[in-house]
Amino acid sequence: MEAAMDLMRRISPRESETALSALLTLLPDQSTHLLSQVDLPLKVLQDMDAGKEFILCEYNRDADSYRSPWSNNYHPPLDDGSLPSNELRKLEVEANEIFAIYRDQYYEGGVSSVYMWEDDNQGFVACFLIKKDGSRTRDGRRGYLQEGAWDAIHVIEVGLEEEGTAHYCLTSTVMLSLTTDDKQSGSFNLSGSIRRQMILDLPISEGHLCNMGKMIEEMEGKLRNSLDQVYFGKTREMVCTLRPPAEGIQLGGLPQN
């Protein structure tokens, strides 16, 4: 498995779907593990009843159908597809509504979905997903990107403790690809994926949604900064190492960390 994960870290993020598919062919008995460890760009489906799109992932899948968080129906329809309990569904509905507003504030477009399900330890797991297509033909307001995709997957395991606190374990993955074609016949593509974890014990006086939301917001901010300053910055550093800019050209702009 280590070899498989090492390969996924080396192959270009834009080829991750092909790479994963190849690994699944090679290691069929490791498929569950591979699918849980490797994230692929998110796909969406239209919920005809609700008139909105929803995101597909392992957490809303049952057999070959996917459950929409808007109508709670499976597409294609499934007789006894698994559903969250009534209480959890209430929380799920609220989460979807609020997360949609959060999404609009930060992403100015895109699609979001939240899925929840009970786990074995009397707690529950929530999965918050965002898919943004920032290309100028879709939701890219400023028109800078020929191609741009941001996919975020946040999985939070919530364990109920005593004394009014809960234990939150957040695992976040952001997959990103952007292509600018500003020059005559050139292309510039940066793509990447990073995964981080955050574990907190928080009082539940403000409610689970508040706690989870704040964690996700903080995490997304950190990941965005990390991608921008560290990861992209490192590739830029490499280019300047390969070909040091001539004296007199100011490098300024990026912080030195």
């Binding site: 070899a3 090492d6 930060y106 100028r136 990107l145 704040k214 490499m238 190492t241 702009g253």
Partner: protein, 308 residues
């Protein structure tokens, strides 16, 4: 699984598929990482025979794509593995020292060196132009790329004896930086086609530039950038041509470098914003604490000015 008679066929298909998968991973390894990818895929394959076959086909492709340069055994310099200097699958010409290197693609080492034959080298007339250009090229690469290697190959008309016929050179620049302990690798590749059109008395330039970088500490981020450019100048003496051509190459590569810089500078404030803002328009964090009550959802919409 299949019954008796079909088994040998299925096993064969499995092998072919395995080989294709191995070849895909090897060919798609980033610059400087093929040995790591090789190690991984070999252990996953669990079949050394299939791996060896895949490697013997994939490594040459990778080496040529990435313009891998190998040190020649007599320390006279590096030989670049490229289709422009390929004598055959295992032998590559180094025009500067007029030698042919035998190469082990999988081990990525030079196993033998011999002088090039007259048939493998260009004519005296052509060599005049080639070596003049090569001299200027070396100066440029030394100044510009700390770890760069370069070569000028005659790719058309190498037997032309004098004025009256056209010919073509291919200039190759390859710079790579491998820093596996820092989880960072990168490469710069320039391929310039220089066409000497005797009838029109012009020299036409076609450049294909490619930069790649990979940073993978607890993540996987890659830069992949390409650029194509054209230019032309008049046909002159070998020395003057060399200077003109190198000036054009220098100019275009510097322009490309500047555009890369500009793309990076624009990233945080403009391009990235089309994906995700740093903060909402309100410039404050999202008011999660106001979301305890259902009905407040509508109030938030008003507060944040989204009402449509």
């Amino acid at each position: 699984m299949a019954d008796g008679g079909d088994e040998p066929e299925e096993a064969e298909l499995g092998e072919k598929q395995k080989k294709e998968i191995a070849m895909w991973f090897l060919a798609n390894a980033p610059a400087g990482e093929i040995q790591y990818v090789a190690k991984d895929i070999k252990s996953l394959l669990g079949d050394d025979g299939v791996y060896e076959t895949a490697a013997s086909e994939a490594f040459p492709v990778y080496n040529k794509t990435h313009l891998v340069s190998l040190e020649m055994p007599d320390r006279s310099g590096n030989v670049i593995i490229t289709r422009f200097g390929e004598i055959d699958e295992s032998n590559y010409l180094d025009p500067r020292t007029a030698q042919v290197a035998t190469v082990d693609h999988i081990k990525q080492v030079c196993s033998n060196l011999r002088p090039a034959t007259d048939e493998e080298l260009p004519s005296f007339y052509i060599e005049g132009f080639r070596s003049a250009l090569d001299a200027e090229l070396c100066k440029y690469v030394d100044e510009t790329y700390p770890k760069g290697t370069c070569a000028v190959y005659c790719t058309k008309g190498k037997d032309v004896e004098g004025p009256g016929s056209g010919f073509e050179f291919t200039v190759v620049i390859s710079a790579a930086r491998h820093s596996p302990q820092n989880f960072c690798n990168g490469s710069w590749r320039s391929i310039w086609k220089v066409e000497f059109k005797d009838d029109l008395q012009v020299v036409e330039l076609n450049g294909s530039l490619q930069v790649g970088a990979h940073y993978f500490e607890e993540g996987n981020v890659q830069l992949d950038s390409k650029n194509e450019c054209n230019d032309s100048t008049i046909f002159q003496s070998p020395e003057d041509n060399a200077i003109s051509v190198m000036n054009m190459i220098r100019h275009h590569e510097m322009e490309y470098m500047s555009s890369l810089e500009a793309s990076y500078l624009n990233l945080p404030d403009t391009t990235f914003k089309d994906l995700r803002r740093k903060l909402p328009v309100t410039r404050t964090l999202f008011p999660w604490h106001n979301t305890l009550q259902f009905s407040l959802t509508r109030d938030i919409s008003k507060e944040l000015g989204i009402g449509k």
